[in-house]
């Protein structure tokens, strides 16, 4: 899933300040999972914004709507029927959701309410960790299911570095050393000798070689 966190409310208020009729649009997918932009959070934010406006004697209409997936055209189109009523959208989607709305309605200002962060897992209730960089060439098999790109702070393919201490990364004692995890995992499989190999330089062009990436699947098209 994609994780995000809500921007500080002052920042949001500053961005919506010029608009008098705002629709806060939540998303029921990833951002609901990380409790940042789902229906609940959208209702909470809208209420707080309305109260803040009232406290300042500010006249502004703020209403809410949540769609299933803000990054999918079919769902974004549901806004067609309602957008006339508003002069801006406050999107609680991830960066992809915000842009899907903005691309669909280029004349409507779209304000992001969230800071999108990483691709990761819900490790436990209320706890999310980054685990995938989207490198385009998954090597997880070779590293026992632990990604050295996303989870090693220096994304070493031939780690660990000299700063690994007590299984922790030099950057932050709360961050486990990914290479410690990889070594332990491969030891369990009896496959530690896989790490004798010198992994060659990563092909980063699969991630950034030609600008923003796209996938086209004709078999999936109408």
């Amino acid at each position: 899933m994609i994780t995000a966190e809500q921007k500080p409310i002052d920042e949001i208020r500053e961005m919506i300040a010029p608009y008098k009729r705002v629709l806060a649009v939540g998303c029921a997918s990833c951002v609901a999972e990380c409790a940042a932009g789902g229906q609940k959070e959208t209702a909470m934010l809208a209420s707080a914004l309305r109260m803040a406006d009232k406290m300042e004697g500010e006249e502004r209409l703020i209403e809410e709507m949540t769609i299933d997936r803000q990054c999918v055209k079919e769902f974004v189109l549901l806004l067609d029927d309602v957008l006339d009523k508003y002069d801006a959208v406050l999107s609680l989607g991830c960066g992809a959701g915000v842009q899907a709305v903005a691309d669909m309605y280029p004349e409507v200002p779209v304000v992001p309410a969230l800071n999108t962060e990483f691709m990761g897992e819900t490790k436990d209730q209320g706890y999310w960790t980054e685990s995938c960089l989207g490198c385009g060439d998954c090597m997880l098999y070779y590293f026992g299911g632990v990604c050295p790109l996303a989870r090693c702070s220096k994304h070493l393919l031939n780690g660990p570095c000299g700063g690994s201490m007590n299984g922790r990364c030099e950057v932050d004692p709360d961050v486990p050393c990914a290479w410690q995890l990889i070594i332990e995992r491969l030891e369990k499989f009896g496959a530690l000798e896989r790490l004798e190999m010198i992994y060659p330089p990563k092909d980063w062009s699969l991630k950034q070689g030609r600008g923003p990436r796209k996938i086209v699947r004709e078999d999936q098209q109408k």
């Binding site: 500080p8 409310i9 002052d10 609940k40 209702a43 909470m44 209420s47 707080a48 309305r50 109260m51 803040a52 009232k54 406290m55 004697g57």
Partner: protein
């Protein structure tokens, strides 16, 4: 202080609170008039921050939840969740400049749990010094 000036309380309570049935609630509603609005819920764990926020947004100067004593929640963790959600609501209202005391949780004590009537009396006293909310009254 006349009725118009008293802070308005939104009081959420779980049905486990002693003497909190329909009849008792109606009596209390008559007693308090517009200064307390009563919201029974099946368990304090069903309370969401948005309930407290909407109460504050629409009419209340303060919004409180009464939860069961530690270890006695019928649904085991309801009172824990309520506590966390009240904390979250405090953060949110703090971020827009409202005093934290406008929301709160009262956890009954294991020895001698108070009735709804007693809780209402305690709480109205507790919030009586709170100024009217700037959401409803421009200062």
């Amino acid at each position: 202080m006349n009725d118009q000036e008293k802070p308005v309380l939104a009081l959420f309570y779980c049905r486990n609170v002693p003497q909190s049935g329909e009849a008792e609630r109606q009596t209390l509603e008559e007693k308090y008039g517009r200064s307390v609005r009563f919201f029974p819920i099946p368990c304090s764990g069903r309370l969401e921050p948005v309930h407290l926020l909407k109460a504050l947004e629409e009419f209340a100067d303060a919004a409180y939840i009464i939860a069961c004593p530690e270890g006695t929640c019928r649904y085991f963790e309801g009172n824990h969740r309520a506590k966390k959600r009240v904390e979250r609501t405090k953060e949110i209202i703090g971020s827009i400049g409202l005093e934290g005391e406008r929301v709160g949780i009262v956890v009954g004590s294991r020895e001698g749990t108070k009735t709804l009537a007693q809780q209402a009396e305690d709480l109205t006293a507790r919030i009586s010094a709170l100024p009217r909310s700037p959401v409803h009254v421009r200062r």
